[in-house]
Amino acid sequence: MTTDEATKNEGEVQAAALAERGEDITPNKDRGVLKIVKRPGTEDASPMIGDKVYVHYKGKLANGKKFDSSRDRNEPFIFSLGKGQVIKAWDIGVATMKKGEICQLVCKPEYAYGSAGSVPKIPSNATLFFEIELLDFKGEDLFEDGGIIRRIKRKGEGYSNPNEGATVEIHLEGFHGGRIFDCRDVTFVVGEGEDHDIPIGIDKALEKMQREEHCILYLGPCYGFGEAGKPKFGIEANAELVYEVMLKSFEKAKESWEMDTKEKLERAAIVKEKGTVYFKAGKYTQAVIQYGKIVSWLEMEYGLSESESKEAQSFLLAAYLNLAMCYLKLREYIKAVECCNKALGLDQVNEKGLYRRGEARLLMNEFELAKCDFQKVLKVNPQNKAAKSQLTICQQKMKEHNERDRRIYANMFKKFAERDAKEAGKATGERDAEKAMCEKELETQVTEGKA
């Protein structure tokens, strides 16, 4: 017997043993995934769907040939459980594991790579053998900012998520400090939860949920009721909230490509109005969502008739200007400037656009640029008093700033000036500067020598 055959047979023996002793863990009980626990877990907790799980594993084919191992890479393998990121056998198998557990899985091709195989390593219709160690797991950080952590109690159906503007029917329970403050069934439009005293974090999380999904959401203050709190529910400012949400059903809003220009224009008028209502109520994040829709619908629309195009332009202009205003209020000045730039792209001498960009720049301490903007405003409309007073503020701030700088840097400037004078004409680029350093080193060597 050759060694190859030996390992092959050994593999087969192992496989047979596994198949015999393994527990069938498929929901259909079709023996497609069999599991043997090699070492029980250290804790009783199992990962929930959507959790980020950390595992070490190695995988073998039926002939015993190893095709993959995370230990060879010296890195634990990380994936989101139950999301179809990995082969079916893994989504099923890892969900049954406890923290610290080591188990073996036998996976039939229907639960692995099927008849297509996976070039170049996994042949067609291959049964795969894995040994997996569950190292750790944690809740899913929906926006990678720690603001919303989700743990899924029951997985939803399919892959479809409500989009912005979708109508959703949910059951929710809100908790704060161990107290339940809200419990009801409610139907609303994603992005407009505020109308129903639902914090923005729920709107955002819903866009990542599926029909029939039941999950727990841990909301940071900025995704909760924020600085304003919610007196109605007895929630103080900057409170952290926990919600349990069940998405019963939803109807998606049409995607941009599904609408023709006429429909987009009609809807633009509606969402513009909605945005304005939110804005007046001080709900700027919600207003941004509404105005943002106009941009997503009309920004890239081609082939319009002249009158349509005019209408679209005026909606876009209004949307950009209002977005800029919202971002100013939300203190997202860079975005505010971007929106103004787009508005000014449509209308170079737009008074509001120039004024708001000036404001944003002033707040970012870009005094020169802000000054420029306010001056342009006055060129367009010499009567604009607000711009005049902003100009005065600009001047004042520039002066204050300069003076402070002068105080702080007084000594430094002197030193810099001296050095600049020395190096003048030598250094331009980085490399030139280095060269200059070299030369200087040379000089010092020489002069030191002379001294």
């Binding site: 995988g59 993959d68 010296n74 790579y113 170049p120 390593k121 892959y159 989009n163 490509w257 070299c438």
Partner: protein, 607 residues
Amino acid sequence: MATEELEAIIQRCQILEEEDFKGEDFNLFQVACQKCLEEGYAVKVLEVFKNEKNKVIVKNMGWNLVCPLVRCILSYNLEDEKREHCLSILDKLVQLCNPKELLLGLLEQIEQASGEQISQTILLLLQPLQTVLLKFHSKKSYSVGLSLSTILNQLSLLPVPYTKEQIQEDKLGLCKCCSAVVGFAKPFVDQVVQSVEASTESDVRELKEELLKFCLKSLKYPLLIAQLDQLHEDVEEDPLRHFATEILDILINIGELMPIMFSHRGSRNQNWNNPHFLDMDRKHSADSLACLSYLVFVQYFGIDCFPMVFSPSYLLQCNMTHIEVLLKRTEESVLTKGLDLLGNCLLRNGDNSLHHQYLEFKGFITTPQDLVKVMTLCPIEHLRKKSLKILQLYIDKFDAEGKYTLFRCLLTTSNHSGVEGYVIQNIKNQIDLSLKKANGCKWFTGPHLVSLLDLVLLLPEGSETDLLQNSDRIMASLNLLRYLVIKDNEYDNQIGIWTELNKIEQNFLKPLHTGLNMSKTHYEAEIKSKKENRRVAHNSQTVCSVTVGGEKMPNMTTEMQLQVLHSALFTFDLIESVLARVEELIEVKIKNVTDKNIGGHVKHLMS
């Protein structure tokens, strides 16, 4: 005489201690050396350099002498012994001089080279550059990075050889430089690999960062542009493929392959977190990452290090971003990469296995539109064909609802009669499949299908539609209608066509009749007037002009115009005959139903 001048300076300087040198001594020495070199007395300079006694003055001349030296070396023939002398001088410089100064001198030479000298200079100076860099003890990463990026910037000026012959000839030396630069980077890679355990050390981390940037830059150019298909029989000898494997090896060895392949997914390990990389402009790395994905999945470079547990649909989803990047380009080799990567990812999935909701993921609905663009606008035939093949593959992989959505999307966005015809043909196939199944799929029978047919069985601009332009679409629609009329049993109306006849009549058949009549009259009149014109003015020069791609085509003679007009008439006839056939079928079937109803009615009355 130059040699004598040099001799004189040397005589004077040899007795001085380092600190006694004056600035002018250096100047004089430099001028004298340069002169010697220019006048062909390299051997004399070499002699001076070899002399231990001159070590002190030589030590400080690195930066100044590199330029004239390189110029000399490049001007001599390979066999010239003077070249050998110059090379020995260069060696001496590298041995003796201040490395920091020398580094700048060498990089300056590489940077200043142009045309054919780019590769010559790089090949000449890589070795000395490496030696110099290895002399840096700590803080070398910045210099290594600077060197690598300078070299790649220069290489990016060289066109990538394309055909086998071009690669073999390697006229501008790109291939040679690529393999040389890998050798150049090797000791630094080794250093990173050896100190993996102590990777907290900031210098090693920085060096790794620089090597990563180098790899990404190489992926963007030349690898993205290079034709890496296994076109050539002796694949192993393709130097650019070889370069690609080397770059992948570096990425694997420094442990960065997995992290960067997942860098855009946001699901990265803490250990993988790499703030410097995040700082790098992601837009710039999009091309590199797309090329990397191609190399891993299509060419299997480094696939051994890739986890084999991802689901095929997830791999498709991950690669969609890259595919989008590649398909937006116009270069043949880049488009090929995009199509190959998409094809590869699709083939990993079973037919009908992709859930329609995947179409909601980023890129899934826009990519087929990009394929259509390639199919209709790309000037390269084999890419147009490949793109069509892959579009079909794409359609095949989705479930029925996914196919349905794709068809809707393609019909509304493609703006190309041929593509629309193709999609309509696909719709027909799906209806056919659905009818063959015991309980047909709800997307290709009944109300859903009817709403899809609303997009098909109409003339886009009513009777005003340009029938010639739209002939592919119209013919496909008529064929589909004919199929439906034959297949759909008029009694149980399974597909749902019979209740829709009125609408079809209004939106499609009637305007088509009108359109055909108008077009035919118009073209016939045109032919008539052309013929008369020909009789009147025999010199058929006053004709229309055609421009294609901004270039004026030769004028069409009246004969040619007549030919075109006739072929248009032929198309109309063809449409008309199919139309007639369809209407005939409809009539017969409707008559059957009414007859039977009347018959039944009569029978009922009689009983």
